[in-house]
Every structure is written in structure tokens, then in C-alpha cells.
Amino acid sequence: MHEDIQRLLPLTPTMFHMLLALADGEKHGYGIMQAVEKETQGQMQIRTGSLYGSIQRMIAAGLIEETNERPDPVLDDERRRYYGLTDFGRRVLSAEASRIAQAMKVIQVKHILGEV
């Protein structure tokens, strides 16, 4: 399992932010797009084509899965599909976050942020 996780690291920025968007619950495609844009303060915008290309690859890699749960079935369009993190996807996200946190420590030690 550990080797499987390491094989996927480092994640591409798109994959990382999509996993991050799904970390707090299942979302449909447009929900993922909005969450990524909001969480990156507009610095990253995923378009529809890239979004579903990534979803396809991430499902194939076992990082995410389609879910049957619908947060609000009354208000929502029943044709929408929702996606959520798998256990493996959560571990990969955690490993990538650790890698970034480690890099952040180095950034802080070297006072890189102060130079921006």
C-alpha cells in the first residue's frame, strides 16, 4: 500500500486540489470546480474538460469513487453524479499534504515567504 501511495506522488496541482475539495464531503462536478476556485482564491480554475479527464483518471487510480449519497435530494438535479474520496485517496492526500508540510518547514527555515 505504501508503495502504491508513493508511486502517485507528487500529485499534479489539479489532482491535489480536487482531492482537497472532496476532503470535506462528496461533491458533483460543478461543486468541485467551485470549491477548487474558492480554496485557491481564484488562482486555479479547472474547466469542464480537464475536470472530467481528471475524474476519469482518479477513478481509475482508485483515488475517488462515485457515490450514491445526495446531500440534498429535494433541491438537486437527480441526473448529477457525486464523487467522494476513497480510503486510498484519503491516504494519498494525507501523504501529499505531509510532503507539502515538510517543504513548508524548509520554506519557513529559509525565510522564503518573507521575500515575496
Binding site: 474547466r47 474538460g49 472530467y52
Partner: protein, 294 residues
């Protein structure tokens, strides 16, 4: 929601639905509906926030992303390797597609000019969108040219073959010089890009080669009746493009009324010629007869 706003959104959704055919059948079956729903949501939000301008601003990056992701999908499916027959078959829809893109510019221009949209920002967005669409249309045009060359190579004379080869080479040159320009823009600061004039020369020479090639092929088509009908089309297409950009770069001759000699009008003629050429090629494909060698 007002009727006109519904119209803009409806056209966007329908156009996007058609464009999804760029993806493989498997991908469309798995994600086509979800992509439409997601794009519909994005359109509604963009329109709600910024009106027609927001919708146009959404379309440009969406279109570029769609082409990129569709190519990636096709490459994953192993569909990019093309046979000769497939390229010949593709020449028909691609010729019509490029012609339609060019005609849309004319229609958009008319809508903005005579419609209720008069604000400058819409014109700016429209022009940006159109320039990108025009540049990108050279990619399908290259494949259309390759297919046309393969189809007519056995029946054309030396002049026609040379014309088609010149057009294909020009098409490759346009795309390579565009990529070189993008690469230089990405790696070098602006003044240094200006110091590499060969990129600009190569782009201009390639651009003219495409249309001069069409004129030569057009002469051959007229002489030997290579097309089942409308043999004037390839020559007319090449000639009008040469006139369009000749007027644009060197000015409109004094004896022509300048209000009519606009690039938009000429590009609409070019677009119509390409669409008609595509229709002629459909007819020829239906006939299913081998092309006689001269």
C-alpha cells in the same frame, strides 16, 4: 429569466453538446451528460454575474480546454493514429467546421453591429474570441488539407499536386510558427521575442502558401473538372483570402468602396467557400467512385 437570456444560454448548451463529439465515444458515454450539466451550471452563473460578456469570457478558456482534453482523451484511446482513408473521410467535416467557424465571425459581427449589443467590452471580447478561434481553426484546416491532398493526389496534374502540397506545407508552417511564437513568449521577455523576426516571416510565408496553394489547385480543378461541381470554389477561396489580407496589410485600392471591402465580409465569403467545398466533397464521397488518373 428573460427570453433573450434563455436564448444565449440555450445556444451555449447546444453548441457545447455538439462539441462533445470531439471526445471518444467511451468518454462521452461515461461523462458526456455530466459535462453538459456542469457546463450548464457554469454558463448560468457566468450569465447571472456578468451577462453576455461573462458568457463569452467563459467560452474562450472552455474551448481551449475542450480541444486539449479531447486530444488527450483520443490519445489515451489510441485513436490518434490515422489511416489514409480516415484522413480522407475527415476532410469533409473538418472543411465544413473551419468554414462554419469563419462564417460565425461574420454572423457575430452582424449581430453586434445591428443588434442591441453596442458596448465596447463586448466588441473586445468578441474580437479576442474570434482571433483565437481563427488561429485555432488552422489545426482542423491542416487535417482537412491533408485529407484533400490524399483524395486528389491521383487525379490532379503536377500543378494541382504542387498546389495541394504547398497548402499542406503552409498549414504545417502556420502551426509550427504559432507554437514557436508561444514558446518564445513563454521563455523570453518581450523585447527578445521581437529580436527573432524569422518567426514572423515564417508565419506570413506559411500563411500565404496555404492560399496560393489553393489557387493553384483551383486552376487545376477548373482545367480538369476535378470536383463533381463548383470547380471554381478552391480558386475563389484562395483568391478571396489573398485579397482579404492583401487589403488588410496594403490597404484597399481607391476604386473599391471601403465600407464593403472589410475583412469580415471577405472572411464570410471564405467561410462560405469552405462550407460549399465540404459539401462538394460529401457528394464525391457518396458517389463512391474511384477517381480517374490523368
Amino acid at each position: 429569466m428573460r427570453r433573450s437570456s434563455c436564448g444565449w444560454l440555450l445556444v451555449s448548451e447546444r453548441l457545447y453538446k455538439r462539441l462533445l463529439y470531439l471526445y471518444s465515444k467511451q468518454f462521452r458515454a461515461a461523462y458526456g451528460r455530466q459535462m453538459r450539466l456542469t457546463f450548464r451550471d457554469a454558463c448560468r452563473e457566468a450569465y447571472h454575474r456578468k451577462g453576455v460578456g461573462g458568457l463569452l469570457a467563459l467560452w474562450l478558456p472552455t474551448l481551449l480546454d475542450l480541444i486539449k482534453s479531447a486530444l488527450e482523451d483520443r490519445a489515451r484511446q489510441g485513436e490518434i493514429t490515422m489511416s489514409k482513408a480516415r484522413l480522407i473521410g475527415l476532410a469533409v467535416p473538418l472543411t465544413i467546421l473551419v468554414g462554419s467557424i469563419w462564417l460565425l465571425e461574420f454572423i457575430g459581427n452582424l449581430l453586434l453591429r445591428f443588434g442591441q449589443v453596442r458596448e465596447e467590452r463586448f466588441w473586445d471580447l468578441f474580437l479576442t474570441f474570434w482571433v483565437f478561434a481563427f488561429i485555432l481553426s488552422f489545426i482542423p484546416l491542416l487535417f482537412a488539407l491533408l485529407g484533400t491532398r490524399l483524395r486528389f493526389h491521383p487525379s490532379a496534374s503536377t500543378l494541382g499536386r504542387f498546389g495541394l502540397a504547398l497548402s499542406v506545407t503552409g498549414g504545417v508552417g502556420v502551426i509550427v510558427s504559432m507554437m514557436a511564437r508561444l514558446l518564445l513568449d513563454a521563455v523570453a521577455p518581450e523585447p527578445e521575442v521581437g529580436a527573432v523576426p524569422w518567426v514572423g516571416y515564417a508565419a506570413v510565408a506559411s500563411f500565404w502558401s496555404v492560399w496560393i496553394g489553393y489557387i493553384l489547385f483551383g486552376v487545376d480543378a477548373l482545367r480538369y473538372r476535378l470536383l463533381p461541381r463548383w470547380n471554381l470554389l478552391p480558386g475563389l477561396l484562395g483568391a478571396t483570402i489573398v485579397l482579404t489580407f492583401g487589403f488588410e496589410w496594403f490597404g484597399v485600392p481607391a476604386f473599391l468602396p471601403t465600407q464593403w471591402a472589410t475583412p469580415s465580409l471577405f472572411i464570410s465569403i471564405n467561410g462560405a467557400c469552405l462550407v460549399l467545398l465540404g459539401i462538394v466533397l460529401i457528394d464525391q464521397r457518396r458517389e463512391q467512385q474511384p477517381i480517374e488518373a490523368i
